[in-house]
């Protein structure tokens, strides 16, 4: 799937949106890289990035050496992780809303976040050090979080699929949502129990749950980039089928969609993206719910437009939110708390506005 085909499939206006959003994202990355405890002017940031990309050391001449370290080793990995996680959560949210036929679904609807939180809590509580001999020990929390998320996903799918639904309905969205809620409820009770046991580590668990990019490094960038890119390509590949599934499984099937296969493929893809995002950054709410929801108001519900545009909007929004907490606010607020504090009321506003205008969700 080349860029050429991608641009041909989506209409011109969407192409323009994507280019504008791309420019906006790039500018946001540059501005964000320059701002913080030490302000670095944008020309220098640009030079540092250019010199790292091209390997041309001359560009850095006459610049404080520490600047290059701050931008490239400290800020950029965090900024890029935030942007990629924002993109990932938004793709995942758009896909979940499409599969579950519910504009209010989000990446965590199927309990992926609860599973990740449970896994992370166990790793923190028992101080598990999987990779003591190889990589640094900080890996075990993300690995446990990821495992918890995936195990939860498969359990939810197992719970939701019944004999009769396998032949006639595939995985029904009601069954999936209900199973997700049940499993998430059990897991959050489990997390509460772990917190109760945790004693001193309870604060670490709580902080992890609130989400943060503070410790993101280049490995996080690589890992999330890999998963989010692959996830995007798969989601985009099935985007037209996902449109048809909005007509109901029976109609989609009569239009040539293998509904069971597409549902399963997209469910696993979207959950994998969400799981990776959660495992590197903790639980960041509302991005996956709000971004596709708002984007749909501009692009319409066609997933071939919605998924790419949501991805860009999500990247920009989470990057800006993270920069806000990192560089603008007097002291750093956990990003998950910030997105919920901004996103929650905003969601209430648009929800109420639509209720009043009678157009529904």
């Amino acid at each position: 799937m080349s860029l050429n085909i991608l641009s041909k499939t989506i209409t011109n206006s969407t192409g323009v949106h994507l280019i504008l959003l791309g420019i906006f994202l790039f500018v946001a990355i540059i501005i964000s890289s320059g701002s913080g405890y030490i302000n670095i002017n944008f020309a220098d940031v640009f030079k540092i990035i250019a010199s790292k990309c091209t390997g041309n050391k001359d560009l850095l001449e006459g610049m404080n050496k520490i600047f290059s370290v701050i931008v490239f080793d400290v800020r950029l990995p965090r900024i890029l992780t935030a942007a990629i996680v924002g993109a990932g959560l938004s793709i995942s949210g758009a896909v979940f809303q499409g599969i579950l036929l519910n504009p209010l679904a989000d990446p965590y609807t199927l309990g992926v976040s609860a599973g990740a939180a449970f896994g992370a809590s166990i790793a923190i509580l028992f101080n598990i050090n999987l990779f003591a001999f190889t990589v640094n020990s900080s890996c075990s929390v993300p690995v446990f979080a990821f495992t918890g998320a995936i195990a939860t996903l498969f359990f939810v799918i197992f719970l939701a699929s019944s004999n009769s639904s396998a032949t006639r309905l595939g995985l029904s969205s009601n069954n999936l949502i209900l199973s997700g809620i049940i499993v998430a409820a059990i897991l959050s009770a489990g997390i509460s129990f772990l917190k109760y046991l945790a004693d001193e580590q309870v604060s670490i668990i709580i902080f992890w749950l609130m989400g943060s990019f503070a410790s993101s490094g280049w490995p996080d960038v690589q890992l999330t980039l890999l998963f989010v890119c692959a996830g995007f390509l798969i989601s985009f590949f099935f985007a037209r089928d996902l449109n048809l599934m909005a007509l109901g499984n029976r109609t989609a099937s009569s239009l040539g969609v293998d509904t069971k296969k597409v549902t399963l493929a997209l469910l696993v893809t979207a959950s994998l993206i969400a799981a990776v995002c959660v495992s590197v950054s903790g639980i960041i709410g509302f991005v996956g719910l709000l971004v596709p929801h708002m984007t749909r108001a501009v692009t319409g519900p066609d997933n071939r437009k919605l998924i790419p545009v949501s991805m860009m909007v999500g990247a920009i929004l989470l990057l800006c939110a993270d920069t806000l907490t990192r560089a603008v606010l007097p002291s750093e607020i956990p990003i998950g708390v910030l997105t919920a504090l901004i996103g929650g009321p905003f969601f209430c506003y648009i929800f109420k506005k639509r209720q009043m205008s009678g157009t529904g969700i």
Binding site: L247, G248, R250, L255, G256
Partner: protein, 257 residues
């Protein structure tokens, strides 16, 4: 060739919905399926459209086992208008009708001029063209069902399966839509298989009637031959008078309280 159904059965759990049905559905005809609620009509249609696989027996379509067709290939041969249609996302009416062309448009290409002409044409015929840019979520039940009907016509298949597709229409639109389907049968040799609750409407349009009761074929044959008081009594357990009506030029049924 049409459909060759051989000893087809299907059940949900212990509940046998379709019980050992054998039937030949000829191409180029207008078929009506009639039966009480929950008799297995919708399941029967699902089996014909290969949305559901028979638990026993087989369905051959154009000489080939239905199970051997790919979904893609079938979507160019058989179109379905479902009974209930509910959608949560605000696609425009035109976008929904365009979805009917998807089986003919490769995944990553834009619709050709010809596709757009087809959808404009079917939208005019189904009287949905005037609200082509309105959101499907804002349309009334009947308007929405017309859009779905247009979508199935845009699919341009040999077989059109209607599952109580006229249930939300007023009588004007019921006749109009069934006439559109009938024209496809008469002019282009298409096959229409429709479930209808209105026996009189079925009698006007359908050349053949299939009466289903408890998952079995209760009666089957040319409308003139099979539609009589005995059939109605045995299938629905109601008394009725069936007479030849000169105005509609078909058998008609009347009931009493």
């Amino acid at each position: 060739m049409g459909f060759q159904i051989k000893k087809m059965s299907f059940s949900y759990g212990d509940n046998k919905v379709i019980d050992n049905v054998s039937l030949h559905i000829e191409p180029g005809r207008f078929y009506g399926i009639i039966g009480p609620n929950g008799c297995g009509k919708s399941t029967f249609l699902d089996l014909l459209s290969s949305h559901t696989k028979p638990a026993a027996g087989s369905v051959f379509f154009m000489g080939k086992d239905l199970a051997k067709y790919s979904k893609k290939a079938l979507s160019r041969l058989i179109a379905l208008v479902p009974q209930n249609f509910y959608i949560n996302f605000s696609f425009t009416a035109r976008e929904i009708v365009l979805m009917g062309r998807y089986p003919h448009i490769p995944k990553f290409s834009v619709p050709a001029q010809q596709d757009m002409e087809i959808i404009d044409d079917v939208m005019q015929k189904t009287e949905t063209y005037q609200f082509k840019n309105r959101f499907i979520t804002e349309l009334s039940g009947g308007e929405r069902q017309r859009v779905v009907f247009a979508r199935a016509l845009a699919q341009d298949t040999d077989v059109l399966i209607l599952d109580e597709a006229t249930s939300n229409f007023d009588i004007n639109h019921s006749i109009r839509m069934l006439n559109l389907a009938a024209r496809g049968v008469e002019k282009n040799g298409k096959t229409v298989i429709t479930v209808l609750q209105d026996i009189n409407l079925a009698a006007i349009f359908c050349e053949y009637l299939i009466f289903i009761k408890n998952g079995r074929i209760a009666a089957y044959g040319k409308t003139n031959e099979v539609l009589n008081a005995n059939t109605i009594k045995s299938v629905f357990n109601v008394d009725a008078k069936v007479y030849q009506d000169s105005y509609s030029n078909s058998k008609q049924v009347v009931f009493k309280r």
